[in-house]
């Protein structure tokens, strides 16, 4: 294998950045809210791609190879989200901005959906964000997975009422409402710490060292 340095893509990068900036400016004229969401989306995608973060791998590898490196990263991500979300909630209460919470009711269909999604994501080699990120990278096979994702999401959305009617559901639980903010955060962080210890122990047990 004779080694050649990869062709630099800086011209493409620069061109795309200019394009994104112009698109941002255009969207800003229409709605600043959508423009901010667009910017956050770009930032998230960029981070995801550079970090090589893979939710599929984080959940699959402990069982498949015994490696929990990404699982530990996922736990750290959740811990940061808990703190970040608490910060947002505190700030919005301070500013008197009502907080829109996505607290979904729990039911048998939650478990069925979780298993279906899990099987699908391992077979397709990526979860929703991972598939989008790799399409952006130019990995053509994930476009097939993306079609599957769209079809599955549509079927799920259309049949949700049926699932609810057949199996029933219990209302969603929002811990801060029951325990208060401070105990809820402590409890969540302790649970994550426990999971982190568990994943460390699991890797040691599986491959030693």
């Amino acid at each position: 294998m004779h080694w050649q340095p990869p062709r630099s893509q800086w011209k493409l990068n620069l061109g795309f950045m200019v394009f994104l900036f112009l698109l941002f400016v255009v969207i800003w004229q229409i709605s600043s809210r959508i423009a901010v969401i667009f910017g956050l989306g770009i930032a998230l995608g960029f981070t995801l791609q550079k970090a090589r973060f893979c939710f599929t791998s984080a959940l699959r590898d402990p069982l498949l190879t015994g490696i929990t490196q990404l699982s530990q990263a996922l736990i750290l991500l959740l811990a940061l989200s808990v703190l970040g979300f608490a910060g947002v909630a505190w700030w919005s209460a301070d500013q008197n901005i009502p907080l829109i919470l996505n607290i979904y009711p729990l039911g048998f269909h939650t478990i069925v959906g979780g298993i279906l999604f899990g099987v699908g994501m391992v077979l397709a080699g990526g979860c929703a964000s991972g598939v989008l990120m790799r399409i952006g990278e130019g990995f053509a096979m994930q476009m097939v997975a993306f079609i599957g994702l769209l079809v599955g999401a549509l079927i799920g959305e259309r049949s949700l009422d049926l699932w609810r009617a057949v199996f029933g559901e219990i209302p969603g639980i929002f811990l801060p409402e029951i325990l208060g903010w401070f105990p809820a955060i402590i409890l969540e962080l302790l649970a994550l710490l426990g999971l982190w210890k568990l994943s460390r122990w699991w890797q040691r047990k599986q491959i030693g060292g």
């Binding site: 080694w3 090589r52 791998s57 490696i67 080699g125 990995f139 491959i207």
Partner: protein, 76 residues
């Protein structure tokens, strides 16, 4: 010091790693396994896995979006 090459082009993420694990079992210490993939996360996953197991591995992005891996079976 044999060199083996394995075809993992177009394979989805966990499959190359499982194939490599199987292949490695049949190899002798000091043998080298060469892998090439166009899947960025596959490459990353194999490197992490090899490091955790203490195998020597080199990763090179030989051209944009193609990763060339050389895995040495340093121990049984």
């Amino acid at each position: 010091m044999a060199r083996y090459e394995m075809d993992i082009w177009g394979e989805m993420c966990p499959i190359p790693l499982i194939k490599a694990q199987k292949k490695l079992k049949s190899m002798n210490c000091g043998d080298i396994l060469i892998l090439e993939t166009e899947h960025s996360c596959t490459s990353r996953g194999i490197v992490v896995w090899a490091n955790e197991h203490g195998y020597r591995i080199t990763e090179q992005e030989v051209t944009n979006g193609i990763w060339h891996l050389e895995l040495t079976k340093t121990h049984a």
